[in-house]
């Protein structure tokens, strides 16, 4: 209905005023130009990855590949056969990132939910101060904790390992996840908890049986937020790991930097795209939750 009315309105506008049509076009053209600006790097990345180096040298950024070849993708993912040392390819590091992301997201999300629940439904003296101390953790520049963290990982014997990175990401994700769940649970009526308590349910039973079942939206938001941040992290990855234990962003950067004799831009672009696919997919499939996480994670904290 609304769209019909809207179209009718637009029709009236069109017939009454040419000026308005002109502005309408100007509006669309401006929006279109911006859309091209944002899409251009993605377009360039994809078509460059599908060209041969020969074609890249002959054409320019925008020319479509004459012949589509997937060789660069193969090289970026699993390397070239019988090639020299220093040949970096992404496959093992992609799995490193998965092995790092899954536990880190699970741990930080679970404890975030528990903290948010305890902070909102079982108020205690000083709970606001506790929350504030959590909240501030969202803001600290990680440079201020890099050196002691490196030492701690060393003392624990997990420096340069996936477990080390899982620990780091779980710890520094806690502030965000606690914030997300706290802001979600604060809007859930206390009556639900009171009713369950009268029925004799305790702290954990209420958490698992009453609150978690209605937490699906915020769990999705939190998981997506944590996944994107941890997958995209470079600072922790590059500071606390090298060689075989590196996550994908570190490997991508190494790959682009360590060029053998000839720079292969098509392989670089294929690698960049591979490293970006998981988060892009999440964005395309669950954009709504992604945006909600962005605004919740940044505006309020």
């Amino acid at each position: 209905m609304q769209t019909l009315d809207f179209q009718k309105m637009e029709n009236i506008e069109r017939s009454t005023s040419r000026k308005k049509t002109f502005y309408r076009w100007l509006l669309f053209i401006t929006l279109g130009i911006f859309a091209l600006f944002y899409l251009a790097p993605l377009y360039v990345m994809i078509i460059t990855s599908l060209k041969s180096m020969e074609e890249i040298r002959q054409g320019n950024l925008m020319t479509l590949p004459g012949e589509i070849i997937f060789d660069s993708w193969k090289t970026a993912w699993s390397g070239r056969e019988g090639i020299d040392a220093g040949n970096v390819f992404l496959r093992p590091f992609f799995w490193n990132s998965i092995k790092m992301v899954v536990p880190a997201v699970a741990i930080s999300t679970f404890f975030g939910a528990l903290n948010g629940y305890a902070l909102t439904k079982w108020r205690f003296r000083g709970d606001n101060l506790v929350f504030l101390l959590f909240l501030f953790g969202c803001f600290i520049p990680y440079q201020a904790i890099l050196l002691p963290m490196a030492r701690t990982l060393g003392l624990l014997g997990i420096s340069n390992s996936i477990s080390g990175l899982v620990l780091v990401h779980s710890v520094y994700g806690l502030s965000f996840t606690t914030l997300f769940f706290r802001n979600y649970y604060i809007s859930i009526p206390d009556e639900m908890i009171k009713a369950a308590r009268i029925d004799g349910a305790g702290f954990f039973k209420i958490f698992f049986k009453v609150l978690l079942p209605i937490s699906a939206p915020i769990i999705v938001v939190t998981v997506i937020w944590q996944f994107t941040n941890i997958w995209n992290d470079f600072l922790f990855g590059s500071s606390f790991s090298f060689g075989e234990a590196a996550p994908i962003q570190v490997a991508l950067n190494n790959m682009v930097l360590t060029s053998t004799s000839v720079k292969e831009y098509n392989v670089d672009m294929a690698a960049a795209f591979i490293a970006g696919i998981p988060t892009l997919l999440v964005y395309v499939l669950a954009g709504k939750y992604f945006i909600r996480g962005l605004t919740a994670g940044s505006v309020k904290g």
Binding site: P41, L61, F124, I145, V171, V256
Partner: protein
Amino acid sequence: MFYWLQKNLPKIAIAPSFAVILWFVYGFVLWTFYISLTKSKMLPRYEFWGIEQYFRLWSNPRWFNAVDNLLIFTVLFVAICLLIGITLSILLDQKIRAEGFLRTVYLYPMALSFIVTGTAWKWMLNPSMGIEKLFTDWGFTDFTFDWLVNRDMSIYTIVIAAVWQSSGFIMALFLAGLRSVDDEIVKAAKIDGASLYSIYITIILPMMRPVFMSSIVILLHISIKSYDLVIALTAGGPGISSDMPAVFMTQMAFHRSEIGLASASAVMMFLTVLAIVVPYLYSELRRQDANT
């Protein structure tokens, strides 16, 4: 005993996380602060040396250069992101048919890592095969675009890529803000004969004050922490022409064996963030209190 346990279960449940935060955030910041007051080079040394490292830091030309770059970057990054974000949000607010699609397009760079962004832009800005070649192929034979390898311009390439990545986010924040404006106000102003342009400038944008505040805080925060993008795009170069404080810090910490100096620079970054965030959080929380 059981009763005590039950009564304190919420506190016990939150205690491990809280302890972790106290140790890994506050404890570590204090440790870094203390190390910045010592002579530590490659390994931490704990005898007190006063604020000597801060003197060393602020008389270090490389640090000055990094701070300089950060200022240039921050001013441009914040200003351009706000300009583009606000413009796009207002344009999108005009009941556009393809709004959902356009919004998705404007915001997708936020899903990519700075390393992916940097890699893509590094190729596009390639002085001989990138945008420069594109324009010469299109007939602008004198066109040169070598910012990536030009000492005077390299910092601006970081601005370009960072704006590309983050401006869509500001658009989303402002669009959400615009959507919460009461339609009646706009209608009333229209009846009074105000033009759409003046309605936005004099009525709606001033109402966006909180969105401005949070956008600026977010953008400042991003820019102070900029590290990945610099590494991927220019690695601070050519030379140190696009160096930034975060890059300086990791260089000193992990490559130059100057952890005392690195800690001093980290403390400066920390204090800068503190100066921005604490007033913001304070006003945010007061606003929330006022609302409830």
